[in-house]
């Protein structure tokens, strides 16, 4: 069975969720990463609306009307789950208890700046918890298509949209590549199977550091 480019991206991001971590997955693509996380991996999933220990999503006829995740999906508890209020939930975030968060992006810059909450004049849904997640999780991954629907790069040298947080992103997972934000600049670390290096460079709006040795594929 061959995986779609999107599934490979999700699977690659899932591989960075390690045993013992406390993790928050943003709404949208990041939540879909769960499909590729082994069911027996010991991980604590945090949800901003007051859960540590988010269990599997339930069908409507099995759902508890009082138990949703931050994206509104009906979820279940697991042995060891706790519930808490919204201030405590963000105490967990701001005090650095999250080992990893995976977030979506409108734009992400080569220096790790992230914009994902506001397109002025067009769509301003508000940031929800994204500002604190992006700023305070110990490690921040962004999952995004490499280009937008019109084919324009989403990875830029500078974000044009209002920021969610400055220099917060550590790693970017796309359908074409894995890129790491380093002190020297944005490094191309891995490339999707069957994708040409020149195409990645052409689809990226920021300068990429390309290592001399062959790139691992995913």
């Amino acid at each position: 069975m061959s995986l779609s480019a999107k599934d490979r991206m999700l699977r690659r991001a899932a591989a960075d969720i390690k045993a013992g971590m406390t993790v928050n997955l943003g709404i949208g693509l990041p939540t879909q990463v769960l499909r590729h996380v082994p069911e027996d991996l010991p991980v604590c999933l945090h949800s901003e609306n007051g859960i540590a220990g988010v269990g599997p999503v339930l069908a409507n006829d099995e759902a508890d009307r009082n138990l949703i995740d931050a994206g509104g999906a009906y979820v279940s508890p697991v042995p060891g789950t706790s519930y808490f209020d919204s201030a405590l939930s963000f105490a967990i975030v701001r005090s650095g208890r999250l080992d990893l968060t995976l977030l979506g992006a409108f734009e992400v810059a080569g220096n790790g700046d992230l914009a994902n909450w506001m397109i002025p004049g067009r769509f301003t849904p508000g940031a929800g918890g994204a500002i604190e997640l992006a700023q305070k999780a110990r490690r921040v991954g962004v999952i995004t298509t490499h280009t937008d629907k019109r084919g324009n790069p989403k990875i830029l040298s500078n974000c044009t949209l209002p920021l969610t947080a400055r220099t917060c992103v550590d790693r970017i997972y796309t359908d074409m590549a894995v890129c790491d934000v380093t002190p020297e600049g944005l490094r191309l670390s891995e490339i999707a199977e069957g994708v040409a290096l020149d195409d990645v460079i052409a689809a990226t709006g920021a300068k990429l550091i390309v290592p001399d040795q062959p790139l691992p594929t995913f």
Partner: protein, 230 residues
């Protein structure tokens, strides 16, 4: 001596709200949203309200009833992306919307309830969220002052209450409810179950009665409290 009885009719409880009042509404999405209290507020029609809630619910429920009825002047919130009506009214200038990062909104409410004037944080520095806020340095680090957020009223949804207003919340219906219940001049709670005094084990009380002014026992829950079909 017995603890005071704060049971009220829903009409009496909501009639305390005036035109121009600021009102905190518990809830994150559907869970914890006091739909019956909101519905009564729509029926009574107070206008020019400032609504403080994590989100604007979805179209056709909760906050949206107040928006549709033209009762809201301003919304203080973290996210309205699931209510296209709220986004449209904001874009058209029909309501003012003030955004805060979700945990900062929660903390501003929490410190108000704790009798603290504000706090210093680095959240939002370098983003539009920091604009216009006082900057301070603590231990050589840049911070901004976030002020306590109080309201005239808090409307809460509880799983259980006793007549004194000791409240229990359940699962993700807790969210902002216990925080808002501490941060308003008058706190009104609706409860799915009203139990007698002593019916809640003291260790199980999530928000103690001294914070709560009025408790309303809910009749059978209306459909909006149920699982949302998507």
């Amino acid at each position: 001596m017995p603890m005071p009885d704060k049971s009220r009719s829903i009409e009496e409880a909501i009639s305390q709200i005036q035109d121009g009042s600021s009102i905190m509404l518990g809830g994150f999405g559907v869970p914890g949203t006091p739909f019956c209290l909101i519905r009564e507020l729509v029926r009574q029609g107070q206008s020019g309200l400032t609504i403080i809630k994590n989100d604007a619910n979805e179209t056709g429920m909760g906050v949206d009833w107040l928006l549709e009825n033209g009762q809201v002047a301003k919304l203080i919130t973290s996210h309205i992306g699931l209510n296209s009506n709220a986004v449209a009214m904001m874009n058209a200038g029909e309501i003012e919307v003030e955004f805060a990062p979700q945990g900062i909104l929660a903390e501003r409410i929490r410190v108000a309830g704790a009798g603290v004037m504000g706090f210093v944080t680095d959240i939002g520095i370098g983003t539009p969220m920091a604009e216009g806020k006082q900057q301070v340095m603590i231990d050589g680090k840049e911070g901004i002052v976030e002020t306590a957020l109080r309201a005239d009223f808090a409307l809460l949804h509880a799983d259980r209450s006793d007549p004194f207003g000791n409240l229990c919340f359940t699962a993700t219906a807790r969210n902002f409810n216990p925080l808002m219940g501490m941060a308003a001049s008058r706190t009104i709670a609706e409860a799915e179950a009203m139990v007698p005094l002593g019916g809640i084990t003291p260790d199980d009380v999530n928000l103690p009665g001294p914070f709560v002014d009025d408790v309303v026992a809910l009749p059978e829950l209306m459909e909006v409290y149920g699982v949302v079909e998507r």
